[in-house]
């Protein structure tokens, strides 16, 4: 029997039991749709994590001073001002796992333009800061190394600040504005970065050279600065190594003996992001397993129906064998039937899963990603289900004895 007639015969048999075939297909539809939706959600979550990771800065670590302890009242992280400019220079030069390091000091300030003013987070930093944070300028440029070390009155603005001071989409590069009443020249506007995972607006910020910050906003003390150090490791796998090197170096520079507490803190953000990503992946895997279970249940439904079908059609099988059907012909016929059930279920499940993913992303704002490979996955998985769960009934049918089958009374 040629493949085409095999298919025709199979579809006709399925069509004869419309309701039953439909219900069987439904099992597969639900299974495939569940798998598709879960994979789409998983992919979406992954992508979102990657974006958050990217926005935060890649391979990043943050070093802060630890809390000051004055007569029992702890002033909180960074208050001890234990970090010095020399520390940062040493980190840059002596830690092989560190690629870039930049001081960052922040304060809330009132910014003023021609006729508007705005309160924002002002950061005094060095040019490498923007490389560490993966942050590029949309207009103009970042203040350069020279401006940074000389403390030139130059300022780089975040998008939100520009919108509020100069109006939506304005390009204020070249204009002069006031920071705490002192004139600064706007040299650059940063590309919009959106929100941090905590919902904080990255773009509501302004940046000036670290030395300008110390001079005009908030001074340091004897080579110490009130702020933190942003560091990027040379690559993704070196963040832990970088953290160890920095800690070792600072303990040495700060003359901390063994057993004494650090007067600084190294936070490995890359590692935190990594573990968060792993947690997301674990969730995705669990959901996918649940979905796969429902697919297996659907497959068992196919097997069940095919077994019933073989028994019901024992006589038909006998007749077919009597007129010349070989065991392999019978096997293929039943296998194609289960394959067809699974394939139809897979196709509908794919549509269902796509619809579900669309719904979740549109109405519930879930991050959902629907790559084309999911479609291929659905087709392959449903075909696999059809074959795996159809094989046993098909073998059973093909091994019937024609004499017994012909005499079978339904």
């Amino acid at each position: 029997m040629n493949p085409f007639t095999t298919f025709k015969t199979a579809f006709r048999a399925l069509f004869r039991n419309k309701l039953r075939s439909l219900l069987t297909v439904l099992g597969i539809v639900i299974g495939i749709a569940a798998v598709i939706t879960m994979v789409a959600i998983g992919q979406g979550a992954r992508q979102q994590m990657a974006q958050v990771f990217e926005a935060m800065g890649s391979n990043m670590l943050v070093v802060t001073s630890s809390s000051q302890n004055a007569s029992g009242a702890k002033s909180g992280a960074g208050s001890s001002m234990s970090l010095t400019w020399d520390d940062v220079q040493a980190i840059r030069e002596e830690c092989p796992a560190v690629a870039l390091a930049a001081i960052s000091m922040s304060a809330r300030v009132q910014l003023g333009a021609e006729d508007q003013n705005w309160n924002t987070q002002l950061t005094g930093t060095e040019p490498d800061f923007f490389a560490i944070r993966n942050w590029k300028v949309a207009e103009g440029a970042i203040f350069d190394e020279e401006a940074s070390s000389s403390g030139a009155p130059e300022i780089v603005l975040g998008k939100t600040v520009v919108d509020n001071l100069f109006g939506e989409g304005a390009n204020p590069v070249g204009q002069t504005m006031r920071v705490n009443g002192k004139p600064f020249e706007i040299v650059g506007v940063l590309v919009a970065k959106g929100q941090s995972p905590q919902g904080q607006d990255y773009d509501d910020a302004a940046f000036i050279p670290a030395h300008a910050f110390e001079r005009k906003v908030q001074g340091g003390l004897g080579g110490r600065f009130r702020g933190q150090v942003y560091i990027s490791a040379v690559d993704e796998d070196s963040t832990t190594k970088a953290a160890d090197q920095i800690a070792g170096l600072l303990r040495e520079h700060h003359h901390i003996d063994e057993g004494e507490d650090d007067d600084f803190n190294v936070r490995n953000l890359a590692e935190q992001a990594q573990s968060k990503k792993q947690a997301t992946d674990t969730n995705t895997t669990l959901l996918a397993i649940v979905a796969a279970v429902s697919l297996v249940v659907g497959g068992i439904g196919v097997m069940n129906i095919m077994l019933v079908s073989v028994v019901e059609r024992t006589r038909e099988i006998g007749i077919r064998m009597a007129v010349g059907a070989r065991p392999i012909d019978v096997l293929l016929q039943f296998l194609v039937e289960s394959l067809a059930l699974a394939a139809i279920g897979g196709g509908l499940g794919l549509l269902g899963g796509y619809g579900m993913a669309e719904y979740l992303s549109k109405h519930l704002d879930w991050p959902v990603l629907f790559p084309g490979s999911i479609a291929a996955l659905a087709v392959a998985v449903s075909a696999g289900v059809g074959i795996v769960f159809g094989l046993y009934p098909a073998i059973k049918a093909s091994q019937l004895d024609p004499i017994t089958a012909l005499r079978y009374e339904a």
């Binding site: 007639t5 077919r320 392999i328 004499i403």
Partner: protein, 238 residues
């Protein structure tokens, strides 16, 4: 005359095990059937006639002995090989018709050709011709439930002969039919004999066996009688 006999059985034995018992259905049957003969197999139930029929129809294999079908030894063939032999050489007509339900007469008749790998157009043409031969040229699209018993049996005959077999096995072909329709069916079978097809009838009705040119009687797995006769001509009253 063709030198090779259509059927040649040499000391065929068939035993079954049913639970703990060994049933010896055929205990050494030898038989030679020439081309163009019509053979009636008779005998009481339990005599082994159904087993003989199954063996001759290549639905079953002998436990020992040999079965030469048109000179080819089929007694040791695999299931798949036997299926191919059935499809090419043998047509079946059953007491209960055994048509596929909810399937048109034409498609029922096409079935053997489907497994013989005959292409779609050729299949339709030959199936239509076979149905015309049995007088059902106008009922191609009818499904079995829309046909009378006699008509269903004629569809079955058309299905048996569409593959142009050398042998037609008819197992109680008139068992479910009234006498008028029985005569019609026998007339068709006799016309096939006239065309050179070997027809083997299994029956317990002497009236039906009378239409064959040779009658063998089985008892306890042995042939106890084998006689040739002038077949009674099935006259369809017009």
């Amino acid at each position: 005359m063709d030198a090779t006999p259509v059927i040649e059985l040499e000391n065929v034995v068939r035993t079954y095990t049913m639970g703990d018992n060994e049933v010896r259905a055929l205990r050494g049957v030898s038989l030679r059937v020439e081309k163009g003969e019509s053979l009636a197999i008779m005998g009481p139930s339990g005599s082994g006639k159904t087993t003989l029929m199954n063996t001759l129809g290549c639905l079953d294999r002998p436990t020992s002995g040999h079965y030469l079908l048109l000179g080819q030894d089929v007694s040791r063939l695999s299931k798949a090989e036997l299926a191919t032999v059935r499809g090419r050489r043998i047509g079946f007509v059953f007491q209960s018709f055994n048509l596929l339900a909810r399937t048109s007469a034409l498609e029922n008749v096409e079935l053997p050709l489907l497994y013989a790998g005959v292409g779609g157009k050729e299949r339709h043409r030959r199936a239509r011709e076979a149905l015309e031969k049995v007088g059902l040229g106008k009922r191609l699209d009818h499904v079995p439930s829309q046909l009378s018993g006699g008509q269903q049996q004629r569809v079955a005959i058309a299905r048996a002969l569409v593959g142009e077999p050398e042998i037609i096995m008819a197992d109680e072909p008139t068992g479910n039919l009234d006498s008028q329709t029985s005569v019609e069916v026998m007339a068709i079978l006799q016309s096939l004999v006239a065309q050179g097809i070997t027809v083997i009838l299994v029956t317990h009705e002497p009236d039906i066996a009378a239409h064959a040119s040779r009658v063998i009687v089985l008892k306890d797995g042995h042939i106890i009688d084998d006689r040739r006769q002038e077949p009674l001509k099935a006259e369809v009253p017009s």
